[in-house]
Point group: C2
Chain length 187, copies 2
DNA sequence: TCTTTGTTGAACACCGCTGTACGAGTTACT
DNA sequence: AGTAACTCGTACAGCGGTGTTCAACAAAGA
């Protein structure tokens, strides 16, 4: 029988993990336990290793983020819809940038990709609709276009972090750039 | 008096550092010393700390790379010139991707940017010429466009590393995408 | 109430890394 | 040939992290 008490702690730990790792990708297990208001040993009782903890945190961030993305209206003009989706995605990428770093050198290769399947699918569907309507280019693979968008956002986060970009400009720059990259080349 | 012997070792160490860190961003000082065919103590004799070593390796990579970039013909049609420059840059970014990672969490903030000044300037000049000729867009800051190019390349390297992108396609995808991002929006 | 499930801090072993010290040996330069 | 510069291996201290053990204690749930 799983005690309600324990369940609450598991939850608090996962929340704290998302929080800490979003601030410092190298946050230690001790830091996270303290932030969760829990002993380090208790934490190990629920998450056998640091990797399990990072995995849980990342999965939770994706899940929560995907829920937000689900509220975005993807109907109507594909270009406008894409702008909306990119804006919402950017918000998330920016928030969880540091957590992604942690995941990148903790989780086994492919795991991150696997967890991203939900959000990526949403983007892919929109992209393909736009292509079918002749609004988006078809001379590059969908997967490349998606990863490009991701990396432009990721890059913007870097620039903000380095103080070379004003956070208020980012959303506009990103959607403008991404739209241009998706536009079919003039013949 | 600096002995020729020592100078040769310093060189071998720097070379080995570039080499090792380009393969594994977390390569230890011991690894690098071994690769240089030198005792760990000898290494510390020339580079007081790991950070100094990473700095030297990164600076050398930039210097060597910038020399290659200097050979690229930047005259004529800006779009063609940019394609040539991006292709050459991509080669370098791809090769030193891992070294950049090492630099990122070893060197003080701003140091990487400072070392990139040479290459960035070359790109900036070309970009501005293209803008003056009406070939490149002017509704986004030059700095943003440059960083976008960098991040698209960086992202491509990631994709290759993850096995989701064929290295042979990369150059074409990148220059196509980058050119599209630089094209002035249709009115 | 009473048993099962959780929690706790302190202590410990372990790991790999960085950086230092030492003493003996080797090599370049004059 | 002689001196200063350099190199070597080994050994050590320190650090910060991970993961485990233990023994005492607290609380949920039937």
């Amino acid at each position: 029988m799983v005690r309600a008490d324990a369940q609450r702690n598991i939850n608090a730990i996962a929340t704290a993990a998302v929080d800490c790792l979003s601030r410092d990708p190298d946050a230690s297990v001790a830091d996270i336990a303290k932030a969760a208001g829990v002993g380090r040993v208790t934490l190990y009782g629920h998450f056998p290793s640091r990797a399990d903890l990072v995995d849980a945190a990342f999965a939770r961030a994706i899940e929560d983020g995907d829920a937000l993305l689900g509220a975005v209206d993807l109907d109507g003009d594909p270009r406008a819809a894409l702008t909306r989706l990119v804006d919402a995605s950017w918000e998330l990428v920016n928030r969880f940038r540091s957590l992604l770093l942690a995941a990148q050198h903790t989780l086994p290769p492919g795991r991150i990709q696997a967890l991203h399947e939900g959000p990526a699918d949403r983007m892919r569907r929109l992209l393909e609709r736009g292509r079918a309507e002749g609004v988006f280019r078809t001379d590059l693979p969908t997967s490349w276009l998606i990863s490009t968008m991701q990396h432009v956002m990721h890059g913007a986060a870097d620039e903000i972090n380095a103080g070379r970009l004003d956070a208020r400009d980012a959303a506009r720059y990103i959607s403008t750039t991404v739209l241009a990259a998706l536009t079919p080349p003039a013949v």
